[in-house]
Symmetry: D2
Subunit: 299 residues, 4 copies
Amino acid sequence: MLCFRAFGRLRRSGCLRAGLRLKCPDSKGVVASVAQLLFGFGCNILSSDQYSDVEADMFYQRVVFDYSDLLVGPGNTAILERGIAEVARKYDMDWRVSLAAKQKRAALLVSKLDHCLYDLLIRVESGELSCAIPIIISTQVVARRFGVPFRHLPITPKDPASKAAQEAQIDAILQEEGIDLIVLARYMQIFSRDFCERHWRHTINIHHSFLPAFEGARPYHRAYERGVKVIGATAHYATSDLDCGPIIAQDVTHVSHRDSVPDMVRKGRDLERTVLAKAVRWHLQDRVIVHDNKTVVFE
Amino acid sequence: MLCFRAFGRLRRSGCLRAGLRLKCPDSKGVVASVAQLLFGFGCNILSSDQYSDVEADMFYQRVVFDYSDLLVGPGNTAILERGIAEVARKYDMDWRVSLAAKQKRAALLVSKLDHCLYDLLIRVESGELSCAIPIIISTQVVARRFGVPFRHLPITPKDPASKAAQEAQIDAILQEEGIDLIVLARYMQIFSRDFCERHWRHTINIHHSFLPAFEGARPYHRAYERGVKVIGATAHYATSDLDCGPIIAQDVTHVSHRDSVPDMVRKGRDLERTVLAKAVRWHLQDRVIVHDNKTVVFE
Amino acid sequence: MLCFRAFGRLRRSGCLRAGLRLKCPDSKGVVASVAQLLFGFGCNILSSDQYSDVEADMFYQRVVFDYSDLLVGPGNTAILERGIAEVARKYDMDWRVSLAAKQKRAALLVSKLDHCLYDLLIRVESGELSCAIPIIISTQVVARRFGVPFRHLPITPKDPASKAAQEAQIDAILQEEGIDLIVLARYMQIFSRDFCERHWRHTINIHHSFLPAFEGARPYHRAYERGVKVIGATAHYATSDLDCGPIIAQDVTHVSHRDSVPDMVRKGRDLERTVLAKAVRWHLQDRVIVHDNKTVVFE
Amino acid sequence: MLCFRAFGRLRRSGCLRAGLRLKCPDSKGVVASVAQLLFGFGCNILSSDQYSDVEADMFYQRVVFDYSDLLVGPGNTAILERGIAEVARKYDMDWRVSLAAKQKRAALLVSKLDHCLYDLLIRVESGELSCAIPIIISTQVVARRFGVPFRHLPITPKDPASKAAQEAQIDAILQEEGIDLIVLARYMQIFSRDFCERHWRHTINIHHSFLPAFEGARPYHRAYERGVKVIGATAHYATSDLDCGPIIAQDVTHVSHRDSVPDMVRKGRDLERTVLAKAVRWHLQDRVIVHDNKTVVFE
C-alpha cells in the first residue's frame, strides 16, 4: 500500500501509521505523558525523536505510531486527537497529527531550467517521493514527459499587472487542486508579500548558493567573482524575506580556479537536485518543525 | 563541573546527568514504561533516542536524564537501578546506566606513528574528550609532551614469548590503572584471541582503509596498486577477527593518480585522527550500542 | 557549435579544437618536443596537463590545441598526425589525437533500474554531455521518454544459448550504429570474456559499491550486513575480470544504523548517477588514459 | 635531503628541484618557449601545470624542473634566471623561480586558541610541512611544547598605542628572523592597513566560516542564529580588507539543529586545522598564484 511509504519504509504489514509532531516549552514529564497517552489508546510507538533546545528552552518531538489497534477503533482518530489536545493544553504544545494514508499533493513551479523539475518527477515515479503531483506551473513552455498536467502562466516583465494576475491564477489553481506543498523548482519569480505570508509554511524553494552567502540574483557569477573554492545549494521555506526563510537542507561541492561560471552551473545542478529532493522528502514525511526562523529536522 | 561534559554539552547548572542504554526485542509499551519509570522516580528526561530494527525485530534506546531531584535522593541511584531492572526483566532488556559524574579512564596504545596519539591528547587537554588518560603504552619510545606516564613494552619480533609477555604486562597495567577504554591509536600488534575476547567491548582500533576493503597490512599500498579514487579510515571495536569488528565510524577522502603512497599516507593521517576521535567521543559519551557485529550510534 | 563542447567549455569563437593524449617512458625533452611540434605547425595550445609516474617511470600528457591556423590547412590534420607520429617514435609514445568536431556515439545498456538511463539522457539533452545516443539496449522493456530508439533483447536465464545470441545481437548493433562508447547503466548481465576483451577500452560500468569492497552481486545487502558507515559507487572500464577493471571515478555517502537496505538503495541511486555521469563525461572529453589496471584522469 | 621535499615528494635521488611560476597575457607560443628554454639549458621538466583564464585572457603556469644537469653548472642558476627574464620580457610575464633547497621560514601568530598552532607544529615535526619555524608570537601566554621560541606581545585593549607598539615589535621580529611566511593561526587582532599592504602576499589567515558568509567577528554564533546546515572554514591571504583577501582553500562540514554553538566550535576546529594546513602547504610548495583578488592553485 502506497500510504505506508509516507513516513519512510514499509514496516509490518497491516499497520496504520500516523505521525505526531509537537513543540512546547521544555518541562518535565512531556515525554512520559505523550508515551503514556498513545500507549493508553492502544497505539504502538514505532519511532520517536526528540530534541531539547536549551538556549530557547523549547522541546521538540516527532513520534510515529501504529494505530491499527486503536482502542476506540482505527476509524476514530478524531477521538485520539482530542486526547492529544488535552495533553497539549497542559504543556502549551503546538502540535499536528498526520495520517500516512492521506497522501500530500504538490504543485511544481518552474521557469526555464528544468533539471529540478525532471528530477522530482523521476523520484515520484520511482516511489522515492510519496506524493501526488496534479499540476506543473511555469512562466515558460516546458516539455511534457511524465504526463503531468501543465499550466503555462506567462508574465510580461514590464507589466506589474501581469505579475499580479499570474499570482491570482496560481492561487486559484492551488485551491482547485487541493495543493498541500508548493515546490519552487528553480522558479525565478518573486511572490508578493501577501502570497508568501499565506503560503510559506508549505512552500519550499531551492537557492543556488550556500546561504547566507550570495542571496538574490546570479549567485554563481558572484561566487566566481569572489574566487570561492566551494559552491552550494540551499533548500528553504520561502518567506517574504527573499532567500532568508528557515533553511531545511544545504550541501556544497568543491570548485577550483579551473571552474568557469558554466562549470559552476553544471556542478551546481547536481547539488540543487539532491538538496531540493532531500528537503521535499523530509517535508512530505513530516520530519520538519519550524521555530522562529530555524528548522528542526528529524532525519 | 567537568563531570557534566560526559554526555555532551553543559545543560542547566545543578543537574546530575545519567545515561540509560538498552536493547530488547521490539514490543509495544517499552517507550512508555521507561519514560513512566523515570518520571515516577522524579527524573527529568533530557534527551532520548530510539531505533527499531525491523529486520532483527530489536529495539534500542538511549535516554539521558537528570536525577538531581531523584525522589529517593540523588545518592541512591542503586534504588533507581533496581526499578529499571524490574522493567528490564519484563521486556527482556540488556541495559546499562552510566553516571556522568564518573569519568572513564583510557589507555592509549601506540607503535611508531604518533599522530593519533598527539591528536587524542590535545583533544583531552582542550576538554573536547572527557576522560582521564593515566597511561600510554608503546612498543617504541615516543616523545613525552603532555606529561602522561609512558610505559615502553618492546617486542622481539622473532620471539613469540616476548609477545605473550608484553600482553601479560599490558593486562597488569590495565588492571592496576582501572582502565575502562583501550584505544589502539595506530598500534601495530595483533593481540591474542584470549585478550581480544576479554577486552573487545572497550577496545577501539583505527584501521587505515574503508573496511571491508583492504583489511590487514599495508592498506595504502594496496589502495595505490588497485588505483582507487577514494581512501578511507575506519574505527571499530577490536574483536579477535582482525579488522572485522563492529564498525563505529568511517570516513573517506578523494585521491587521484597524482597521489603516491606517501601522499595517501599524509591524507590518511587527517582521516585517521578525526575518525578515531569521533569514535572515542561517542564511546565515552555512551552513545554506542553493539548488537551482533554492528553498532547503533546515537549521535 | 556543438562540436566545440567535446573538450569542455566554449573558448574563442572560430577555434577548432583537438586533443592529443600520450603516454611514454619518462625522458627529458618530451614536453618541449611536443610543444615545439604543435607550435611549429601553427597550433595554439589551449591547455596542457601532464603527470610523471615515478614508480612506473612513465610520462602522461593531455594537450588540447586549436588547429584553425594549421599551416598546412585545417583540413589536413592527417599531415599534423604524421608529424606527431615521428616525435612519438623517438620517445616510444602511445598516443591518440581526437578532433572535437567528431562527436562520439554511445550505446546505453540497461536492465530493470532506469535511474542512470534517465539521468544520462537528461544530461545529453541539456548539453552537459556531448555525444549522440543512437540506441538503448535492454533485457527488459523500459519506458521511451526521450525519443531514443530502443532494442529489447531479452535473455532466458536458464538457456546459455540465449545469452550468447543476445551478445551477438549487441555486437551487430554496435557495428551498425558505429558505436564509440558502451555505457552499462545498471546492466545486470555479465559479458563473455571475448566480448570484454574486444570492448573494455570503451565500455564503462557503474558498480554500486566502493570497490574493491563488495565486488559482485548485491553489494548494498552485504554493506548492510557488514554494518558499514559509508556506501559508495564506482565507475570503471568493464574488463573480463568482474568489477576489477581500471577505476575512473568513485564517490561515497554516509549511512547509519537507521539506513535499511532500501534506504541504501535510495541513497546509492544519487551516487550512481553522478559517478557514472562524471566518468562518461571524462571519457567523452578524452580526459582518461589507462595504464596497466589504473587510470590517469586529467580533470 | 629535506630540501627536496618542498615541491612534493622525493623523486630521483641526486636531482635539484626548482619551481617556476608565471602569469602573463595569454598568447600563442608561451608553453613552447618556456619548455624550449629549460630544455636548452639542460633542465628536465618534472611536472608542469597550466591554466588559461579565458575571461581575463590570462595564462598561468607552474613548472617544476630538475637543474642538476644545468649546462652552465647547477651553481649558476642566476644565468638561467637571466634567460627566463628574456623570455618573460617577450610575453610580458610576471614570474618567480624558487629553489627547493632554500627552505622557507614561517612565523606563527596566535591568540588564545591553540589548536591550529599545535597542528602546524606537529605537521612540521613530522615532515609533512617543509619549513623552519623560528618564532611563535602571541598576545597570550601559550604552552611551549615543541621547543619553538615564543614571544609574548600583549595588547592593552583600550590603548591604541599598545596595538601600534605590538605591530612595530612584530615587524622587527619578522625582519630579524628573516621570515618568509606569516601564519595567523587564529590570531584575533586586526593589523593596520600599512602592515597588511606590506605583508599580505605572504600572510595566511584562517577564518572560521565559509566566506563570504559571516565575515568578521563571531561567525559560529551568527551561523547558529541563521540556522545553517553547514559550517565552514576559509584560508586566505590577509589583505587590509578584513576577511576579503584571495581565498586559497575552503571546506565545510554538516551541522544540524542539535549542534549548539560549542558543538560548532568543536566541529569547526577540525575544519580550521585541515584547511589552514592545506593552504600553508600549497604556499610553501609555491603552488599558489594570485591574480586580482583570486588564486590559481596548482594542486
